[in-house]
């Protein structure tokens, strides 16, 4: 088995209220030059070595992310 790492965030242009709140918190702590913050989800999924990358993509598209509002990045090599 190998581990696939998936990061899911809201698409650009969709208001990330949690990201804004985190940004405010960072600025309150004195990190005033912090820019946009996006809060997302991170998943590690164990899959058989050599698993079909289109299957991982399908998992994201059908279930792990909501394509209407979210985008995803897949890391690690199956």
């Amino acid at each position: 088995m190998t581990t696939v790492r998936i990061v899911i965030t809201l698409k650009p242009g969709i208001l990330d209220a949690a990201g804004q709140a985190v940004r405010q918190g960072l600025q309150a702590l004195g990190y005033g030059d912090v820019g946009d913050v996006r809060v997302g989800r991170y998943l590690e999924i164990a899959v058989p070595r050599g698993a079909d990358p289109t299957q991982i993509e399908a998992m994201c598209e059908r279930f792990l992310a909501n394509p209407l509002i979210e985008e995803w990045r897949i890391g690690g090599t199956p």
Binding site: L10, I14, L15, A17, A18, A21, F63, N66, L68, I69
Partner: protein, 241 residues
């Protein structure tokens, strides 16, 4: 007439729905466990509020994969009336039975308050007894209820008269302060293209007895009863298609 109330692990408004249907409206109502693959002959399906599967991943996402959802899909495809309330609405969105998606409330706060709703469409089985423009008063209680649809979809929903409810003030106006969660165009409820599947964030089952401050919610259940009894077939979007 038999109502089926779908119970997911983590549903918590199922009992409230069953109470209103049985004790207030005197109807037969069964619990339908989400692990079953059948809707057991119900005439109307209610997906209640709560936190199905802990809202893990996204609200409603895991519940949308539950065994009963294939049966719910088939029931909806046959024109059966389905009402998703709060978390039930989120499940219907994630299952693709309704258009759009939910974002966290713009305030990031869980909103537990009473709101006003304007009826935008009286063409669904659950609103046919209501008047377009009528203002209803009902509670909301959610953290992820900011309705979102991409611009093209939002426009299509407007054209197809699929927005069923909008948040408004007591006079029915769409004031900025009368949008508790930041929903796009104040949208509080939408329907499927054929109108028989409706989702809404407010809780009609918590507004069905005078003791609880409002009986406006009862109108939705009475509407679907009248729909099933076929008393007003002329105004029925489902029958017309």
């Amino acid at each position: 007439m038999r109502f089926g109330v779908v119970v997911f692990p983590g549903s918590n408004c199922d009992r409230d729905c069953l109470h209103v249907l049985r004790s207030v409206l005197g109807q037969d109502a069964d619990e339908l466990w989400s692990g079953e693959a059948s809707t057991s002959g119900a005439d109307v399906l209610i997906l209640p509020g709560g936190f199905a599967y802990g809202d893990y991943l996204r609200a409603g996402a895991v519940a949308a994969t539950a065994p009963i959802m294939s049966a719910v899909r088939a029931f909806a495809a046959r024109g059966g009336p389905v009402l998703g309330i709060c978390n039930g609405f989120q499940v219907l969105l994630e299952a693709g039975l309704l258009p759009g998606a939910m974002l966290r409330n713009r305030s990031l706060r869980f909103c537990c308050t009473t709101v006003f709703l304007r009826v935008e469409s009286a063409r669904t089985p659950f609103t046919r007894g209501l008047r377009e423009g009528q203002v209803l008063r009902m509670p909301i209680a959610h953290g992820e209820g900011s309705y979102y649809a991409p611009a093209a979809l939002a426009e299509r929903l407007g054209q197809e008269e699929r927005v069923v409810f909008r948040y408004c003030d007591a006079q029915g106006r769409l004031r900025e302060g009368a949008n508790p969660n930041g929903s796009l165009h104040h949208i509080a409820g939408v329907s499927s293209a054929s109108g028989n599947v409706v989702g809404m964030m407010p809780h009609p089952e918590r507004a069905s007895e005078a003791l609880l401050g409002s009986t406006d919610g009862r109108l939705l259940f009475e509407s679907v009863l009248a729909y099933l009894a076929g008393t007003r077939p002329d105004n029925d979007l489902v029958a017309r298609r």
